[in-house]
Amino acid sequence: MNTVATRPASEGGGFSLFRYAAPHLFYPLAGKLVPLFAVLATVLAAIGLYMGFFVAPTDFQQGDSYRIIFIHVPTAWMAMFLYLVMAFWAAIGLAFNTRLSMIMAHSLAPTGALMAFIALWTGAFWGRPTWGTYWVWDARLTSTLILLFLYLGYIGLQAAIDDTRRADKASAVLALVGVVNVPIIYFSVQWWNTLHQGASVKPGGSTMATVMLTAMMIMVFAFWMYCIAIALYRARVLILEREKRAQWVAEMVAAGKA
């Protein structure tokens, strides 16, 4: 198992974006970006929650139960969006055999799974007062549950295969196959007559009150920034784990600069 070779293929000119595809260049860059995105996430969450609880009024139909929307919709969107990003990196990893792409895909999976879980959980606690039930086998709910299982399957497959490269490839294929589920979730409320309400936010207009919508969108950005921060953080840890015998890692850790 040769993990010492860290000479980046991109070094010596070429397109500069690929420069950071080399783990030893990506690692310090990500280290600078993590606190930036973490601060953005914290500030946005503080503003969004303040608006959601203290500026946005009580809904005339749903009372205050609707305030679950400020975490339900952002996490549900992130669960879908992160899956697409994960599948994108998996595809790049399969096509170009780049280690960092696989690391990015791998690093997004746990956060995606947690977002899907929070979306389902908050949906259950919103469904109970509005529909009278925590769960129904509705198309939107069921396809989101499948999304959670796809994330868990990806993580499980990755963990089940000892050889890292083979694990990367096998789980990347699974990630790509699962992409078909994302449009199913998105269009489920149109394709099937479901209990879950249709989209109140869509391209070309929204049916939500402005304050509520603003608070919700701020929370969407807060979760987005959080996901970027934690994914970059986890990617750094994965690099440490996978390159633990590489000289640049040993030197960096010894110098206390990891």
């Binding site: 009372g63 679950i68 934690i230 953080y233 040993a250």
Partner: protein, 66 residues
Amino acid sequence: MQWGSLENFLEMGGYGFFVWSSYGMCVAIVVAELVMGRARRRRALAEVARESQLAAQRAVAAQGRS
């Protein structure tokens, strides 16, 4: 301020249980993810240090043999 008192705020117009169960789980998961992430990073750093120690020992042993 629309709530008037902390009790009213926690009450959430009668939906307190549902609202706070949702937010509570969300906060718990984010905190757990951060704590576990940090623990994993510490383990990874310790592993790197152990690996370089082993490499140094192997180098010394190889020198001793030659």
